[in-house]
């Protein structure tokens, strides 16, 4: 499939989600809204994992920073529940980026599994503060938001909120897509493939990775703001190690290095976790099983299925030609 073809497919899927979701009932509506928020988080992680080759195990930290910022502003300062909300979004993005800018100073030096460990440690720092700093974060109980913002638009309405999240999701997708297709994004892929060579070619690979890390943190923070208002509640659960692991799982499940894959992964994981869990008690076997099978047999994730099929078909028709049995393939 050509580049334009892929963009068209993605665009039509997005339009379908936009048109169909409002008619799906309140449970499904909220589920899709939450999946879109986590899709932003997963795409931000994909910038690191898929395009730069940095497996981060602390992406939930930025989600947490954005979410806690929103909740603290709302509960302690009554800010961001009216016309101030757009500013909170900007602040959430900035806080995520700033946290990443600080963490990056420590983390970017490390490579491979060491990067995994250091991001885990940094993520745990944020979790520790969220869990223990009772006076600020409400500790184990977390913080309850008084309600969604109301100004020109009434976000308390779930459908309106879905539209807002959808808009931010599409904007993030487009911005990140432009980013990875830009010369900067290409250099990131170069670093993923062979960092030493890029360095010899004169690229400042540290700075490239650092900038990617900060951008990923910013989008993580943005997801955090939307996440807080999607749930109406913020707790250490949002920052805990398993949330970071979930984000990693989403990217790998969908297919890393594809952006859209992370979004699909977010949809699949959330669907299995929230919807399947209402139907069957053994849903987590399905989640774990699907995950293990994908790692073992489909390293490219769900996004690589079409290519796999094409390859297989190509292989069989080649074989057929070799045996002189087939008509010319198109």
């Amino acid at each position: 499939m050509t580049g334009t073809g892929k963009v068209l497919v993605v665009a039509s899927v997005l339009v379908a989600i936009l048109l169909l979701t409002p008619h799906t009932g309140s449970f499904m509506l909220l589920l899709i809204t939450r999946a879109l928020v986590l899709a932003i988080l997963a795409m931000s992680l994909d910038i690191l994992l898929g395009f730069t080759g940095l497996a981060s195990l602390g992406q939930a930290a930025y989600l947490g920073v954005g979410a806690y910022l929103t909740a603290i502003l709302a509960t302690k300062y009554q800010f961001g529940l009216g016309p101030g909300f757009p500013l909170v979004i900007v602040l959430g993005f900035a806080a995520g980026a700033a946290t990443a800018a600080f963490f990056g100073l420590f983390a970017i030096r490390a490579t491979g599994v060491y990067f995994l460990m250091i991001t885990l440690a940094l993520g745990q720092c944020v979790w520790g503060l969220a869990y223990r700093w009772n006076s600020l974060t409400g500790g184990d109980n977390g913080l309850n938001l008084p309600g969604r913002p109301e100004f020109a638009i009434r976000l308390a309405d779930d459908v309106t909120y879905f539209y807002l999240v959808f808009a931010f999701f599409v904007a993030s997708l487009v911005i990140l897509y432009v980013l990875v297709k830009s010369p900067f994004g290409r250099s990131l892929e170069g670093i993923r493939e062979r960092e030493l060579r890029m360095r010899i070619l004169g690229y400042n690979t540290w700075l490239h990775k650092y900038i990617a890390f900060v951008i990923a943190g910013g989008f993580g923070g943005l997801a955090g703001v939307l996440w807080a208002h999607a749930n109406g509640h913020v707790s250490p659960e949002d920052v805990v190690l398993t949330t970071s692991v979930d984000a990693l799982l989403m990217v790998v499940l969908g297919g890393s290095g594809t952006l859209v894959g992370g979004a699909i992964g977010a949809g699949v994981v959330l669907f299995l976790r929230e919807y399947l869990s209402t139907l069957v008690p053994w849903w987590q076997y399905v989640l774990g099983g699907v995950y293990v099978l994908i790692i073992l047999y489909l390293p490219g994730g769900l996004m690589s299925i079409p290519q796999r099929i094409r390859q297989r078909r190509g292989a069989t028709s080649d074989l057929a030609i070799a045996k002189g049995l087939a008509v010319t393939p198109q």
């Binding site: 460990m117 774990g288 099983g289």
Partner: protein, 286 residues
């Protein structure tokens, strides 16, 4: 705050460190030999506790529960390594991700089999008596924990330093390719170390079960703490794991007692800092 406070806190820190040594040493060895960050290690700890509970419920013997649980979980670890991790070859990221998948599967299995309640392992009354040392009243069980960790530590050290197998393991940690070159069967070493790591984690789970409890979610709670141990000590080093466990145990206890609001921060921030400055930890080798 008098001397007594400091002594009691230090004692508590050391005994928690003893437990952490059991979890951390296995994780460290697995990393050293296979370069795998085993995210299912917390699950071994949890499963150890649960299997021990089942043994206690059926036979009533706590002493029997320890070896049965540790060996059962070692068998699970061995299977995981042989059937799933080994075939992936040397692809650390995929192996790490695979261990996450297993952690989820184990979580669900534990929930199905043992339910979602907070359970407790009750050790024999003899072990839970209070021991009086000078003017200090010390819980006997914590002394037992320290004794177990010390014994295991000495045995591990002897095996690693004095036996042929231990030498082969050390060679593999240092340079797996070279080790293969001189005829060491690194595949067998990996299998042995993975089973040993699972064994130690499960042992920690049984012993810690009387102290932390056994409940869903414990797996992902103990995992980052175990990582702190491994990172501070240096991956692949036994001495490092012992010292890392002590440091983390003490830091955790004093942190909670002195600055409760930032106690986890005081644990993980030095860990991140150390990783940035010296990625191989205090005792690890590149």
């Amino acid at each position: 705050m008098d001397t007594r406070f400091w002594l009691i806190q230090a004692f508590n820190g050391i005994s928690y460190g003893a437990l952490l040594f059991l979890v951390g040493s296995g994780l460290s060895l697995i990393f050293g030999v296979m370069r795998i960050v085993n995210l299912a290690h917390g699950s071994y700890f949890l499963l150890g506790g649960y299997v021990a509970l089942s043994v206690i419920w059926t036979t009533g013997s706590w002493a029997l529960a320890i070896p049965v649980a540790a060996l059962a979980v070692a068998a699970i670890g061995l299977l995981m390594e042989r059937v799933f991790l080994r075939p992936l070859g040397f692809d650390p990221l995929r192996q790490v991700l695979l261990t996450v998948g297993f952690a989820f599967l184990f979580q669900q299995a534990a929930l199905d089999i043992w339910g979602g309640d907070n359970l407790d392992i009750v050790p024999p009354a003899k072990l839970t008596q209070t021991v009086v040392v000078g003017r200090l009243y010390l819980p006997g069980y914590r002394i037992f924990m320290i004794a177990v960790a010390a014994t295991i530590g000495v045995i591990l050290w002897l095996v690693m330093e004095k036996t042929r197998m231990g030498a082969a393991v050390r060679a593999t940690v240092d340079d797996a390719q070279m080790a293969r070159g001189v005829g060491i069967d690194t595949s067998r070493i990996s299998m042995f170390i993975f089973a040993l790591g699972a064994f130690l984690a499960a042992l920690g789970g049984v012993i810690g079960g009387a102290f932390l409890g056994v409940y869903p979610g414990l797996d992902f709670q103990i995992l980052p703490v175990a990582f702190a141990v491994v990172i501070i000590g240096g991956m692949g080093s036994l001495t490092g794991a012992a010292i890392g466990a002590l440091v983390v145990g003490l830091a955790d206890n004093f942190g909670k007692a002195l600055f409760p609001e930032v106690s986890y921060f005081t644990l993980y921030a030095p860990m991140a800092l150390l990783l940035a400055v010296r990625p191989t930890g205090l005792f690890g080798r590149d």
